[in-house]
Subunit: 145 residues, 3 copies
């Protein structure tokens, strides 16, 4: 791809609500999407976690390097999208966490990241959802644009 | 709550504009919501501050630990929502700040945080707004879902 | 300006897609806006970079202090807007980057910042776009509200 390439979508339902205490963020989101037949969406959430797993992509080795820690931290920001992977809703999200000194940590969000409290704003899109396929250049699962 | 629980909202007005120089972010937003009869919204803003107060929730003691500093910093990201608390618009926002070396600080946004310059994108929602009530599990004021 | 001042906009097209590998974020976005006649928009993107240039505004000297580094980092969050400057689409964006240890860096996004992979959600707005003019108080190019 030589330039920014997009598909146009129409807004579907707009959901605002709370994430469940002591549950994994990604699993909660996946379950919500399956129950509500959401196949394409973007979302933003703030709140706090009791433990987290985040990572970064090793661009040379083409693998994610992750680490897990148990710590009560603010979710300072978490932005992501929902699209299809192998025919089911797949969550891609990045997160910034903050401690009591305001120190921040961030990266690609993985399970298991347990919610203390969380508030989400999710915009569904209608139309044919994007699907993730392997991208040869990066080794990542990117959209079939 | 055992799972992600949301209410559906319809989009209302979409406001894009500037925050006032040398004023507090939360107070400015509260005043704007009152003047424009906004009871439910989500927003995102970027800009810079001249001083800030941020904090994190002590999940054991169930109190916010905050700190204040006078420093010219970028607002790298600030995401939040508007809903009702005691019948009036209440702002819940988290913020990431950055200095000239790119060092970041982040957490729950408190007053007083003074704006140097700021640009906001606020989406109002129509329908019965969410209201904040005390959540026994976390000690936080969460939504009545 | 003594208070938060906004203009109301109507939603236009909603674009979701990928940023091009090994290209500059801002240039890619500007080109996309020109090709698609987008004059007013807000966007959010996540992904990864191979190198970056970020900065912060020196509020006393009224100049941006920037620095450039070659490093494979996650784009943990990047939020911005499109409006007019000298009659053409201008990108204003702030970014948080994260490394393999979860360490974050953030600030005002500059060219050149090269994309490894990136996913964008861009909301166009219709109606008369905002234009950037010099603000005497801050020395910044702010909106003509």
């Amino acid at each position: 791809m030589e330039k920014l390439t997009c598909k146009e979508f129409s807004p579907g339902r707009r959901f605002i609500g709370c994430l469940p205490h002591n549950k994994d963020i990604i699993t909660s989101l996946e379950d919500f999407c399956k129950e509500n037949s959401i196949q394409m969406a973007t979302f933003s959430l703030i709140g706090a976690v009791t433990s987290f797993t985040i990572g970064a992509y090793d661009q040379k080795q083409q693998v994610y390097v992750t680490f897990t820690e148990k710590a009560p931290l603010e979710i300072v920001t978490c932005t992501g999208n929902v699209s299809l992977k192998d025919g089911t809703p797949f969550i891609h999200a990045h997160i910034v966490l903050g401690d009591e000194q305001g120190k921040t940590f961030g990266g690609h969000l993985f399970s298991e990241t347990l919610i203390f409290a969380g508030e989400i704003d999710l915009q569904e899109f209608t139309g044919k959802p994007l699907e993730r396929v392997t991208d040869k250049t990066t080794g990542l699962m990117l959209w079939n644009l």
